[in-house]
Amino acid sequence: MTSTEQETLFRQWLAAHEALLWRVIRSFAATQADQQDLLQDILLQMWRSIPTFRGDAKESTWIYRLAFNTALAWQRSEKRRHSKHEAFTTFMDAHGSAPTSDDALIERLYTAIRALPKLDASLAIMHLDGLSYREMGDVLGMTENHIGVRLTRLRKQLTEQMKGQNHDL
């Protein structure tokens, strides 16, 4: 693969999966500095992995794997973050849409997901995104049966948690 092809594919993936990446990043990192740190790690892995992409897996499956595996390996590091943060700050612009009534609910949902173990957080994101059990299995390497069992528990846990938060408000 030539450098130009790699760059073209990188730009295409970035444009096509920006929202997916943002949801994953926001589910694993709370502060803006952490989000930028994780985003940069994921994009770096994406750049490195492009030459190995053969189209065997669906593009979205590939991106989910890459994002979750990077998030799994990612750990907050104050020292590392400072060195990367400054250079990266200018690459992100906050979305300028007007706040909606759902924003608070979505933020609480992200908070609830961040409190989950990483595996459950990954499952929750994919389930909320509407992936099938089979697709989730392809990303995680779990059987559909196992995913079904965990999701039943997870759906209940998340719903009750959100209800509890509603009562608190």
Binding site: F10, E18, W22, Q40, L43, T90, D93, H95
Partner: protein, 193 residues
Amino acid sequence: MTFDDLQATWQKQPAVQLHLRSDLLLTEVRRNQQSFVSAVFWRDFRECAVGAFMTYYFGEIALRQHHWIFYFQAVTCLFVTLFILIDRHRQRRKAPPIIETLQHYAEQSLRDVQHQIWLLSNVLWWYLLPLAVPMFLFFALRGGSLTRSFTLLLVAGILNVYIYRLNQRFVRTHLLPRAQELEKLLATLSAES
């Protein structure tokens, strides 16, 4: 509120919440990739060059002076250098591919962490002792006066104990918790597989 309501709200999130300046980003990603490749190259080069230089240095003295202690030092320097290079080469080949399933990636990562634990737990045998023994012998046999030899031995001993303890602390504080985290994840992933 049901889970389906939550899912509907989740999927209603604005399609793009993040505007990336892709040109700047691409430049930065490229710069990072180059700096990563360069850092790996120079780390390997540094270790190899220092080892090769030490081997040459002691080898050259050994050839001039025909003293077994210098041959011994040259051989141990060569051993440590080759050990590091071969181990690094083997580990790089086994590095976990980032695009594998989470389960496969976690298994590979755990193997990698376990290898690091093994390496640092045994640092005494493959790094410290091979370098320290000839050094101790040299100080003991050719260190000059008794006081000077004793001082040199003491300093070298303290340095070696410090390096050993530093490595063991890293294993305890970083590697073991990471291995436990990965083991826990793998146990969950394969619970019903």
